[in-house]
Amino acid sequence: MSVQSAAIILADGTVFEGESFGAAPTTGITTGEFVFNTVLSGYQEVISDPSYAGQIITFTAPHIGNYGVNSTDNESEKPQCEGIVVREMSRRASNWRAESDLVSYLELHGIAGIGGIDTRRLTRHLRDNGALPGAFGTASESALREAALAATGTEGTDLVARVTTPHAYSVAATSSASRTIVALDLGIKTTILRNLSQYGSIEVVPASTSAEQILSLSPDGVFISNGPGDPAAVADVPDTLRELLGKVPLFGICMGHQMLATALGGTTYKLPFGHHGGNHPVRDLTTNKVEITSQNHNYCVDVDSLAHVEVTHRNLNDSTVEGFECAELSAFAVQHHPEAGPGPHDSRYLFERFAELMDRSAS
């Protein structure tokens, strides 16, 4: 690993010194919105999660790359994030499943990284000032500064269009279940498909697929996936969902949660620095149990804007809405990630709930 000095400059002018690794863009500059993630393990899943499109991920765990990468833990075919920031990039991967090291993986996929950063200082800065656009790389300070000022956040950008599948494809059921699930891909994670496929076969369709096209597949239920960016900027999907509501059971996760809320007439707002980690407590208000959840979102549903729904889940750290249900229309959604990947498995029961809902509606 050749060591080359690099720096981060945020849009507010704050500078962090480090060293570059991974892909080297010819300009020596990478721009995006800086966010942080507090997971202790699971960097490969995070980096390959399409929901990070447009973002530069700061890992608060200091050692990243320790166990290398393997071909089964990817959440999508290729990383969609803009870059990663770490305190210490491991040069040696040690794990019986490792097939390559992380730096090679990043190089392969053209993702740039910066290491040696005081990531705790950066995290506290983002916590106090909100997620910020900025730039990093090996370019001169003035070039980076210019790029940082020009960099935009994710607000108002339809990033879903960038990451959704260009064409529909099928995923076979991994059990004997005969349900048909249509998954609206806004940036879907592999782990979600793995979980859903236990309950039926899946038709994954692009975000732009119409309600009519979806219904023509005769689904038992429609799943609306996670996805990147500002929910308010996502075109068409809320309209599609509005048409589907009441006709077929719906289950949404993360962006899917926000889309469903929008379809039901609700609004979303941006959280100061988002939820990105694997340790947030969420209470299932229907059972009163606390589950530790995987989280990755910058936007949140404003529950007051929603009529006819019941809040089913709340985040115990900041009381934000983590899930709701519209029983009369057979739709429910959660903001967190029950599929985990990475993160705890406490919320996987929600897929089971979706299956029950589909069965109930069918009968």
């Binding site: 699971g42 705790r120 606390v290 990475p342």
Partner: protein, 1139 residues
């Protein structure tokens, strides 16, 4: 589910004395639990025999019983207090085993007491290895193949199925006692026998060995509503085969993918649920095959543990505190996270640093013990270090150990490894030892590949590569020296980036100074000039996601620091570092008391320490905690940070307290700015330690001291003994715990002892000792009573005597290993007056401000019992090991008073304030007894001497010396027999006192057996000897012409108490075999005649009186309506012959 209203009072069982495998982590957890339960409004009743703990301070419980932790005593407490519930999960294995015993014998039911935290069935499932294994298989989990045996025949059958190597694990044990890996048939038979002996239910598990697998631990918490969380994952640096308590461990786990980690997490919850731990914390241990990833469950502890204390300190999540709340009905989401205040405790901490724990061993104290690590824990303490990266935290941990190391090598001590040939070093590194980590670094530095080292050690390649990075950085730093090898030029050639890289990898200034052959202070100055300063980050449970309210900091070299200025004046208290023999929990007690007292007096208290087991490193104890090595750099950096915060408008730094944490902070006194040292000055500390100063001072004060001198060569030493005569006591200067101290009876002894000190071997590793410090040689006073005094002097010159302790064992047994008694019932008023006078004069002359401990020897006079000439042995102007015991015996909070005095208060002011109270005017007697780790080191001769070897202490308190002594023995683990046979084998010099003891035993109805010489003497003195025991043949193989020898007699179970005082040194002596037999067969053993006499008196009182329990609060209030008032008043009137 809020607090339970159906219970009002709770009995908390502590863990008793500090022993290997069970140290002050249970004081930390127990203290937290006491606090929480009191805050919740419950009546808290505490039982713990250890007076050195914070938890046994009368403030922490409503009723504190410093009583032996045995079932019959606990039953008395239950009978007296009638609590509604017993909480057994915070006092280690001791509390758990006791709770099981009380449950199994129906005592709990009889008193209608509920077990909270874990029920008997859950405890049984987790602790009984067979039940546990079956439970795990039942829920589909993978466990190493194994079988259970209750005797040798069953064991052989199990082995037939498994094949060697196997692990032998006794059921219901702590710290892996009696555990081992057997690779040969002979080892197998030996270990099974030992394991069956060690298990209280004579059961061992024989398990296929998975040595070499990776080892992980998860700390789990569960509440009544079945909410489960993982507080911390821990990865062991040392693979399976080394007990986790003896392993270097790292948090969080570093080499697991999320998929594997989450599988482990799910499994841990399954285990917790199946075992049935309904509320509280547990620890689940996993093994993972390094090449296939196969996971297996090793064990689970259904209680807070050493690992949970570590996890609490590592994450900032207070497991014991939360466990106590869960036990009384709360759920995790109802409890706020202390650190963020805003978020609930129902979450999983995320951390943005790396924590490394390194154990501290004491093999140097046990010549003959093999320093090989295995499945049986042998370490006596541990350090924890926090760094932003693994290399940084590892290096910080190495220099926290107080063994004179500055980091992971790169200091002068590395040469012992670098000198060894590579092939030989590879062989050494393949075996787990305290040195392995240093050997590994040396191997990697000389170019041995990570793969080769992995194959030899099975230490994960990732860890090895991180160490290799240190080696590479070191050579880069060394290259700055250039061909001229000019250190100053090397310094000058470093730019800020170079400095930063080195410091971020954890290289200490002292390591860099070694590399460039410069003085530490020069390196420090150059570094600061380059603008590279230590920064302090916060332990906040959430990786900075939320704002932290709790100032719990660690040092690193990053961009910015999080130390916030605050208004109050500040005092820094330096802690005592890792527990080791000679310096343990007593000093932590002192530091914690200073925090409490100064905080009450309005100061902001700042604690610096690196021991994760302690109360002092609980973020609740001080106003600000720095988890840092107590190295020169570590402490100076904290002082700088605090002074900087003062400059930013905070309160000023009043000073640093160095005299409460034992030798560790005291050693730093000379490198800190003198104006910042609070209390007695560094100069006075030196004056007491420097032999010539000290002798001159005693001479000036006309206080007799044994003849003596210092020597730097053997010739000088021999010349000294020619002058002063034998026996002589020889000892190095500036050590604690009598390190390498010895009594020599002839020139040959002296030469051997000298060689041991001069050879530098293990001693060189003790902090603060260097070969050029002279050795002290004193005439040893035989037949003298040793007396310890703790006193406080203020700046006006007033001195108060805190306590005078009379030792049970004669002078020559290290004071830390000797039993002692308050008040000194065997000393006459006249002698006490002389001792008090000498103490005051010494304190004044040393200009002490704060605590001083003075040791005296009273040469016995045959004319007047209890009187004799008083000699001063030594004085230490600092807190001593006995201070907590004195405070508990007398009810006077000595350390709180001393801390205030050090910060300028006068005793008179404190009297007015009410902090300084008169001593309790009760009629109780308190006996402190030492607890020794002989059973862990079976190869070592169990003899007391001038070198301290005890790991902990207990206190017995009652109204007669005999009862107090008997309680102390019971608390220390020796239940004195009330009938049967006493086996005497005495050295000539002990025969006079020994005969008196024998006489007393006879009058109590005991049979006496003795070795021939002793028997002859006893018979001559009119003691009836029932049996004369044959001499042991020199190699233990020859025949004794059909006669039974001592070892055979003990092995056959024909002896109930062994009294054996050592005649000479080394295993050649008969006595060594006898003592080992006693230790092996768990027959109570006393090794001094005076202790035998005390034991006889204790047994007499025990037999005559009814066992009574009384709380410390009652003792301190003077509440003691005794049925035996007649005998007490007799005792007060007549000095008791202790010996």
């Amino acid at each position: 589910m809020p607090r339970r209203e159906d219970i009002e009072s709770i009995l908390l069982i502590g863990s008793g004395p500090i022993v290997i495998g069970q140290a002050c982590e249970f004081d930390y957890s127990g203290t937290q639990a006491c606090r929480v339960l009191k805050e919740e409004g419950y009546r808290v009743i505490l039982a713990n025999s250890n007076p050195a703990t914070i938890m046994t301070d009368p403030d922490f419980a409503d009723a504190t019983y410093i009583e032996p932790l045995v079932a019959d005593v606990l039953e008395r407490i239950l009978d007296k207090e009638r609590p509604d519930a017993v909480l057994p999960t915070l006092g280690g294995q001791t509390a758990l085993n006791l709770a099981m015993e009380l449950s199994d014998t129906g005592v709990l039911d009889a008193y209608g007491v509920e077990l909270i935290g874990a029920d008997a069935q859950a405890i049984r499932t987790a602790e009984d290895r067979d039940l546990f294994k079956k439970a795990m298989i039942e829920i589909g989990l993978n466990v190493p193949e194994s079988g259970i045996a209750h005797d040798m025949t069953q064991a052989a059958a199990v082995l037939g199925q498994l094949g060697l190597p196997v692990v032998i694990r006794p059921a219901y044990i702590l710290g892996g006692k009696g555990t081992g890996i057997a690779s040969t048939q002979a080892e197998f038979e030996f270990m099974v026998a030992r394991g069956l002996d060690a298990s209280p239910i004579t059961e061992v598990l024989i398990e296929k060995s998975i040595a070499g697998w990776k080892e992980f631990e998860l700390e789990v918490m569960r509440d009544k509503a079945d909410n489960c969380v993982i507080i911390c994952s821990i990865e062991n640096f040392d693979p399976m085969g080394v007990h986790t308590g003896d392993s270097i461990t790292v948090a969080p786990a570093q080499t697991l993918t999320d998929v594997e980690y989450q599988l482990m997490r799910d499994t841990a919850f399954q285990v917790m649920r199946r075992v049935g731990v309904e509320t509280g914390g547990s620890n689940v241990q996993f093994a993972v095959h390094p090449e296939t990833g196969e996971q297996a469950i090793i064990e689970m502890n259904p209680r807070v543990s050493r690992s949970s204390a570590l996890a609490s300190k590592a994450t900032g999540f207070p497991i014991a505190k939360i466990a106590a709340k869960l036990a009384v009905g709360y759920t995790l989401d109802e409890i706020p996270n202390d650190i963020t205040k805003m978020t609930p405790a129902s979450f999983e901490p995320s951390i943005d640093y790396v924590v490394t724990k390194v154990p501290r061993w004491a093999f140097e104290k046990f010549p003959g013990a093999e320093p090989t690590l295995g499945t049986q824990m042998q370490s006596v303490g541990e350090v924890m270090a926090i760094g932003r990266t693994f290399p940084e935290s590892l290096q910080k941990a190495m220099r926290s150990l107080e063994q004179g190391r500055q980091g992971l090598n790169c200091d002068s001590a590395e040469q012992q490894f670098d000198q060894i040939e590579t092939a030989e070093l590879m062989v050494q590194a393949a075996i787990g030892t305290p040195d392995r980590i240093f050997q590994v670094e040396s191997l990697l530095r000389r170019g041995v590949s990570v793969e080769d080292v992995f194959q030899a050690t099975k230490i994960d390649r990732w860890f090895l590569d991180q160490i290799l990075m240190l080696c590479e950085e070191r050579s880069a730093l060394a290259a700055h020296l250039g061909p001229e090898e000019n250190g100053s030029e090397a310094l000058a050639s470093l730019d800020r980036q170079d400095w930063r890289r080195a410091k971020r990898l954890g290289f200490g200034d002292a390591q860099l100074a070694y590399l460039w052959n410069l003085d530490d202070s020069v390196v420090r100055a150059a570094r600061l000039a380059a603008g590279v300063e230590a920064t302090y980050k916060t332990v906040d449970t959430c990786a900075a996601e939320f704002e932290a309210e709790t100032p719990y900091h660690y040092g690193t070299y990053e961009d910015d620091s999080e130390v916030a200025p605050s208004g109050r004046d500040k005092v820094i208290i330096l802690g005592s570092g890792p527990n080791r023999i000679g310096q343990g929990i007593e000093f932590d007690y002192c530091c914690v008391h200073a925090c409490f007292a100064l905080s009450e007096a309005g100061f902001e208290t700042i604690m610096v320490n690196c021991n994760p087991e302690t109360v002092s490193t609980d973020y609740d104890t001080s106003d600000r905690l720095y988890f840092e090595p107590l190295s020169t750099e570590g402490v100076l950096n904290v002082i700088d940070a605090e002074q900087r915060s003062a400059e930013q408008g905070g309160g000023k730094l009043v000073g640093v307290i160095v005299s409460l944490g034992g030798q560790t902070p005291l050693k730093l006194a000379n490198v800190l700015p003198p104006e910042l040292i609070l209390g007695t000055s560094a100069k006075s500390i030196d004056a007491a330690e420097d032999r010539n100063h000290w002798s001159a001072l005693c001479a000036r004060l006309e206080i007799p001291q044994p003849a003596g001198a210092t020597a730097t060569t053997l010739e000088e030493a021999l010349a000294t003994t020619d002058r002063i005569g034998f026996p002589a006591l020889i000892r190095p200067s500036y050590v604690l715990g009598g390190r390498a101290m010895e009594i020599v009876y002839e020139s040959e002894d002296l030469e051997r002892a000298w060689m041991a000190i001069a050879s530098n071997g293990s001693l060189g590793r003790e902090g603060g000792l260097s070969a050029d410090r002279p050795v002290l040689i004193d005439r040893f006073l035989e037949d003298a009573t040793e007396v310890d005094v703790d006193a406080i002097r203020d700046h006006t010159g007033e001195v108060i005597i805190g306590g005078i302790m009379e030792h049970v064992e004669e002078a020559g047994v290290h004071s830390g290993d000797s039993a002692c008694v308050i008040p000194p019932v065997g000393l006459s008023d006249a002698t006490i007056a002389v001792i008090e006078d000498y103490t005051k004069r010494i304190a004044t002359s040393l200009d002490v401000k704060g605590l001083i401990n003075v040791q005296f020897a009273v040469k016995r006079s045959d004319e007047i019992p209890g009187s004799g000439q008083v000699f001063v042995i030594e004085a230490n102007p600092r807190a001593s090991r006995t201070v907590p015991f004195v405070a508990k015996a007398t009810g006077v909070p000595l350390v709180k008073i001393a801390a205030r005095v050090m910060c300028g208060a006068t005793l008179e002011e404190l009297r007015v304030e009410g902090l300084l109270r008169p001593k309790v005017q009760g009629d109780h007697i308190a006996v402190k007894e030492a607890v020794l780790p002989w059973s862990r080191f079976p190869e070592v001769d169990a003899v007391l001497g001038p070198e301290m070897r005890s790991t902990g202490e207990v206190m017995g308190i009652d109204t007669s010396v005999g009862m107090a002594f008997a309680k102390s023995q019971l608390a220390a683990g020796d239940r004195m027999p009330t009938e049967g046979t006493v086996f005497f084998s005495l050295a000539d010099r002990d025969k006079v006192v020994g005969a008196r003891a024998a006489q007393r035993f006879v009058s109590l109805g005991f049979r006496i057996v003795a070795t021939s010489g002793t028997a002859a003497y006893l018979t001559e003195q009119g003691v009836v000897v029932d049996q004369v025991v044959a001499k042991i043949s020199s190699d233990r193989t020859g025949s004794n012409d059909g006669e039974v020898d001592g070892v055979e007699l003990i092995s056959s179970g024909g002896v109930d108490l062994v009294v054996n005082s050592p005649r000479g040194r080394g295993p050649r002596a008969d006595g060594a075999h006898i003592r080992r037999a006693a230790a092996t067969h768990l027959v109570p053993l006393v090794t001094t005649a005076s202790a035998a006499l005390a034991a006889a008196n204790g047994i007499g009182d025990w037999a005559q009186s009814d066992l009574q329990v009384r709380s410390l609060q009652e003792f301190h209030a003077g509440v003691w309506v005794s049925e035996e008032s007649a005998s007490e008043s007799y005792q007060r009137a007549h000095p008791v012959e202790l010996r």
